[in-house]
Symmetry: C2
Subunit: 93 residues, 2 copies
């Protein structure tokens, strides 16, 4: 089970990108989760930045987006979860 990196609307994209890159280097898989437009936007930007960080290490990543129901303070909210995986060589676009 990959670590879940939770992103909020006020998360700093480069910091989140660093966290994603760190987990990917260590575990070769990561989950990035966000609720709401601002948070999803920060998550998407962070993933784009992490991709560049990891490219420098020879790692190609891609994200599988999923909608998941999560419990927040007793209320069910729909989160966007990006499961980040490593692409085999030759598959990158």
């Amino acid at each position: 089970m990959a670590d879940t990196i939770k992103v909020s609307g006020s998360s700093v994209t480069t910091s989140v990108a660093g966290a994603i890159a760190g987990v990917m280097r260590h575990d070769h898989a990561a989950d990035v989760q966000a609720i709401g437009p601002k948070a999803v936007n920060q998550a998407a930007k962070a993933l784009a930045i992490a991709r560049v960080y990891l490219q420098d290490d020879g790692l190609s990543i891609c994200c599988v987006p999923q909608l998941v129901d999560v419990d927040v303070d007793g209320q069910t909210r729909t989160a966007v979860r990006f499961s980040v995986i490593e692409l085999p060589e030759g598959v990158a676009p």
Copy 2:
């Protein structure tokens, strides 16, 4: 070069998902582009829904997020572009 599907903050996620699924079935690659938090959120949700649509056809997809500068009415804006690719069998998370 894959078709670019442009998503706005008022795009209907299931309609965009249908468009993504259509392009993926036909071309096996698609680009989904959005500017701003609401649009990026709709794009991410649409990709998650398209993933389910295509799963039913035996197609696994993933997205490579990139930040790209685009010209909008003479102004440079940063867009999030998700390049959607087909995953080879056995790579899906």
